[in-house]
């Protein structure tokens, strides 16, 4: 028997098929990373000894159930919150051991002693809406970032937020990261984020 000639399969449409698949994956791909406000919850077991905190070192922010903002028992608009928080944190009214040599605030003895002592206490009601809460959180974090940026610019000539981004970026080489790490820690020590989220009042 004569050997039958097998015809070659036409591969011309292969490109079309591949294109079709390509377009499918192109459409379904979402190269997105989530972003948000990082927070740390307090541990559930209470600290061993009660730490006495001076009233003047606490900055109380209450978000009521009508989504109104009460800052140090006074009604305030959200847009003024950032400035008020910065004024409080940067006050540096302490003397002696508590003195703050990098603060540029008013040094009001009735306000916070030192950024390392100052605590922002954020309270909310069970009926507060989440978006208001996030807006308030955002403003408070912004206040911290503003001060950290200022201090970082003074010490290292680069904003803190930029440093932090560089440090977290996996593309940054390891040597650079090792260099950034002590700087970031130093700035964080100067302005520690002491933002306490108390349990809500239920009424």
């Amino acid at each position: 028997m004569a050997k039958r000639n097998i015809p070659e399969v036409n591969a011309g449409s292969m490109a079309d098929i591949a294109f079709l698949l390509l377009i499918f994956f192109l459409v379904t791909t979402t190269i997105e990373t989530d972003a948000g406000l990082d927070r740390k919850l307090p541990p559930i077991e209470p600290p061993d000894q009660d730490v006495v905190i001076k009233q003047k070192n606490i900055f109380t922010v209450v978000v009521s159930k009508d989504n109104q903002l009460l800052v140090e028992d006074e009604l305030m608009e959200l847009k003024n919150l950032r400035e008020a928080a910065v004024t409080f944190l940067d006050n540096g009214g302490g003397a002696g051991e508590d003195a703050c040599n990098y603060c540029q605030g008013a040094k009001d003895p009735a306000s916070s002693d030192n950024p390392t002592k100052a605590i922002i206490s954020l309270q909310n009601d069970r009926e507060t809406s989440y978006k208001t809460y996030i807006a308030v959180q955002n403003e408070l974090v912004a206040a911290y970032n503003e001060l950290r940026d200022r201090e970082s610019n003074r010490l290292y000539g680069i904003p803190f937020t930029t440093m932090d981004k560089l440090y977290k970026d996996p593309k940054t080489p390891k040597e650079d990261r090792d260099e950034l790490k002590p700087r970031i820690t130093r700035i964080q020590e100067l302005f520690p984020q002491k933002l306490s989220e108390a349990e809500p009042k239920s009424n």
Binding site: L22, G36, L37, K40, L41, R126, Y130, I134
Partner: protein
């Protein structure tokens, strides 16, 4: 002389498209590898609030997601309109959060078990009561690193 003039026929040969499939396949494989299919479909409304002081959530394997919000319209007849928590593909009550976190944590490799972040993807129209309950549950299982996942944008847009 004629010998040298032979090739000057004037017409350009057509460009070979034989390597086109290879190029397309290369692209295809790239997109196939980077594609992440959504692993859980949303049962709750999830319109995230805006914030601009945000940090990126890298390293997807270190994140545990918790969704919360009102059930989507098609599930409201079954689950009602009160805000609910969604874990994986189920709508649950608050007391299921702690066991879920423990279970998810034990599924992760040992060396990253202490580095997990809990991403709270909560609808902006939720009351803080539910979120406080979730936070209490998270504190019980010592999952203290949380992230309020938001959209990038001016925080004042939340108030409109």
């Amino acid at each position: 002389m004629a010998k040298f003039n032979k090739k000057k026929s004037g017409e350009l040969p057509p460009v070979s498209t034989a390597s086109l499939p290879d190029i397309v396949f290369m692209l295809l494989f790239f997109f196939m590898t980077v594609t992440v299919m959504k692993d859980s479909s949303l049962l709750v409304q999830n319109e995230l609030p805006f914030a601009d002081q945000i940090q990126k959530l890298d390293k997807k394997n270190r994140i545990i997601y918790i969704y919360a919000g009102k059930p989507s319209e098609r599930y409201q007849s079954t689950y009602g309109t009160a805000s609910k928590i969604q874990l994986n593909d189920k709508l649950v009550d608050v007391d299921a959060v702690a066991p879920y976190i423990l279970q998810e944590r034990s599924n992760k490799p040992q060396d990253i078990q202490d580095l997990l972040t809990t991403a709270l993807k909560v609808d902006s129209e939720t009351n803080m009561g539910l979120i406080s309950d979730i936070k209490q549950e998270l504190r019980k299982v010592n999952a203290l690193k949380i992230n309020y996942t938001t959209k990038a944008g001016d925080a004042f847009r939340n108030l409109q």
